[in-house]
Amino acid sequence: MPRDDSAALGGGGHGDALGEVNGYRLAWSGRASPWTEGAASAPVPAADAGTARPIEIAWVQPLGLVSLAVTNFIRRILTLGAYDFWGRTEVRRRLWSAVRIEGEPLTYHGTGRELCTGFLIVFAIVMVPLLIGSFLIAGFYGGNPIAIGVFQAIAFLVIAYLTGVGVHRAQRYRLSRTAWRGIRGGLDGNAFAYGWVHLWTLLCIPATLGWIAPWRTTRLQSLIANGMHLGSLPVRFEARSASLYGPFAVLWFTMTIGAFLGTALFGAVAAGIVEGYDPVRDAKTDAYLRTVVGGLAIAFMVAGYLLYLVLSAWYQARVINHFASATRFGQARLSCRASAIGLAWIGVSNALILAAGAVAAVAVMAAIAIPIALVLNQTLPAWSSVALQLAPFAAIIAIAALGILTPVTQARYNRYIVERMAIVGPVDLAAVAQSHGAGADRGEGLSQAFDIDGY
């Protein structure tokens, strides 16, 4: 729904949140505490203190995301990527702040330094041993395909397990750095247990032809969600994977039957073309025939991919909505109305935005670099060999350019979900107390090292 960002605080459909505040009686019961120092008398407890009430959730579009994305990109290049941790942190601050609960923003307290330290630790204890291991194996058993295969299998298992551990720890870190009204979030539970489930269910995917996927998704989400809390308010997650198997079956059978029928249809059409082809009569070459059949094959694959895109978006929407309704806290639960068309559109348009950003970034850099290189090439003969050595860096920059607009695409996805999200049922905010558990110090390194970090 269209919205004027400068005025909207509570969300377009909910009226001005501050106006609502005027009609709402204060439920905050002040006690004598250090911060009331100087006050002559303690605040009088409101009559309805502790009353549970419905909670509003809304999205306020953050401004200047594109310029932030460009700035971060330039800084990443200038620092050979090291700025990434700080850039990411800045993006999170904006995206968190865009989520308004009762008109007040979520806040993100993480720092770039924490992300950087976490990554360096993981790099030292996981990546460097893997790298040295692969080097030693290549050196000592280079000619032995079995030894290389065994090493790669072990490396795969270790990485798959640590990926799961990393997902849990990253969630823990992010939640512990998230606060609303000063109340910090958190995640309990065992990251290693999560990593184990993540690993063995991953290995089961091929064995079950994918049919473990709904159960796996539910189980993993349950391990995370049941450990989540905002202050003293725990989250409960009661989803059953049974209700996901219907949509999954539709997805699975449509794609399997579709692949079978598509291949058969393609074979029939292609055979028809080839049989009806007469080189003398049609005055066309074999190359022309190959082009026609090849084009047809690509058309079938594109059609299959589009079908998969829409169907998987539909399944994904069912999963999100089901998980939301199964997420409870206090007397309330979440509700989400994500739709297949909406998610598919967000997915496709985000891919186009990323591509457009990458093309624009590379074009701008080429427009700057090529004239400079040409001039230098004229004046300094030795420059051409330097330019050749710089070519790999150009490739790295081009790869980095692919992600240049991720802050924009993340905001679009988050906006889509948050605007379709609601909290159903009352929450007694006065009963939600600050949690004093120690948060994760630097838990995000693992997920970042394996590039599974959503934000």
Binding site: D5, S6, L9, A17, V21, Y24, L26, W28, G30, S33, P34, W35, T36, G38, A39, A40, S41, A42, P43, V44, L63, G64, G81, W86, S97, E102, G103, E104, P105, T107, Y108, F123, M127, V128, L130, L131, S134, F135, A138, G139, F140, G142, G143, A155, I159, A179, R181, G182, I183, R184, G231, L233, I396, L429, V432, A433, Q434, Q448, F450, D451
Partner: protein, 365 residues
Amino acid sequence: MDTESDGRRFEGRFSNGKSADSARVTVGLGRNGLLIELPGAAEPLVWPYGALQTAEPLTANAIDALVTYTHQPDATLFVPGGPFARALAERAPQTTARAERWRHTRPWLWGVAGLVGVLAVVWASGLSPARSIAGLLPESARDALGEQVIGSMTRGKTVCTAPAGRAAIDQLAQRLSAATNRAVAFDITVVEWGLVNAFAAPGEQIVLTSGIIEAVEGPDELAGVLAHEMGHGLEMHPETGIVRAIGLTAAAELVLGGSAGTLTNLGLVLAQLSYTRSAEREADDHALAILRGAGISAKGLSDFFARVAKLEGAGSGRMPDALRSHPQSEERLARVRSQPSYPATPSLDATQWRALRAICADGKS
């Protein structure tokens, strides 16, 4: 405490950080701090400007401000509307985007200055960490690396083993090896490969292409090329190059966020190595000493350089690839030519040389 306000008042919400509830408050702009009028409190709470932070840096476009106070860490004050954010930015400049930008940039400037300093010291003192690590590798590891390199370089190609040619190259290798300063034995592998090149591989191994055997004019030129590659081997340039490549891979993974890549095609790494000018000079120095020790004329090496220099001058595309990355052939040629002469015998006799030229012609394995 000074509670004088400038008269403007803003509506906001205050949470004490103990529970998730919040109270509607009126906020005034005092001379030294925000004046927060809590419900039921006789006097406003004062938050000094200097100890305030905002959840997001304040810009001219800010639509609201979420304020926290250093000495009351979990408490939050949320005031919607741009006017309050702008008024706060004037009074608490540390909350502005400009101040934050500078706060974030300063450590980077220090970091860059430090890095430049360290690199300058490393460069000035001629330290090479890769070379030190290469020197620490045990012999067995270097041999294994060499096997791996040779294996990946000769994959899909024919290794030439005609017995007479093999005998000739082995004899030449022994004669040159015996003259090295450490008297280490070099192994030579000849591959059928049109590329005009010779590679030094780890563990005292050298790969010669059939292309270079055809390109040289006479056995003394080939001896010069071999002695030069042995010089690289003695200085552990291939080992150093591989260690550096691994280090760069690790660095690239750091930069790219890591993708757990493995470095398995060492042959490719070595083929892409280009040695520095000082490394080439070291190899040349060894080559001259080896040739002298073996009693083989350095004229072969200088003839080879002369031809390379001519090809470079002509800008010919047929320049031997082995020396394409070798700069300043003229300068190197002058150094080789300036050596005093010594008694020398041909590196191979005519029969041996014919056999060596035919090493790939028959007896292929």
